[in-house]
Symmetry: C2
Subunit: 76 residues, 2 copies
């Protein structure tokens, strides 16, 4: 089982991958989300603990379903 620290790192890696696949810089992604670039950076580094509302905002800005944020490329 993953711990709660791991989950922030996994989510951060996933967000970074999806953002880069969308061809967005941290700054342009932050603008689309209405969040600060440093906050996006913190999420991607796994140091932030984003709320449900923020997670939904990220997914919406990436034009994906919320579930897709949590598909990690590693064994559960």
């Amino acid at each position: 089982m993953k711990n709660t620290e791991d989950i922030k790192v996994l989510l951060g890696q996933r967000v970074r991958t999806l953002r880069m696949e969308a061809g967005l810089s941290q700054e342009s992604f932050a603008d689309k989300c209405g969040l600060d670039r440093t906050y996006i950076s913190g999420i991607e580094r796994g140091t932030r603990n984003p709320t449900l509302e923020v997670l939904y905002t990220l997914a919406t800005a990436l034009h994906i379903e919320l579930t897709s944020l949590f598909i990690f490329n590693e064994p559960g």
Copy 2:
């Protein structure tokens, strides 16, 4: 598109459904999560905005993947 208020309500309904399917009272579910029963109640009513760590704790206590928390029975 759903707004961020809706997403809290949808998540709350999903948590309640999964908790009841698991045969857990709010109190026993809260105990498994290490959270207060009133906090679980707030999540289920859609008034709380749980963090990623809390969402992961809920999924772990329900023995489900994090993605399963976000499968809502309604059109996107």
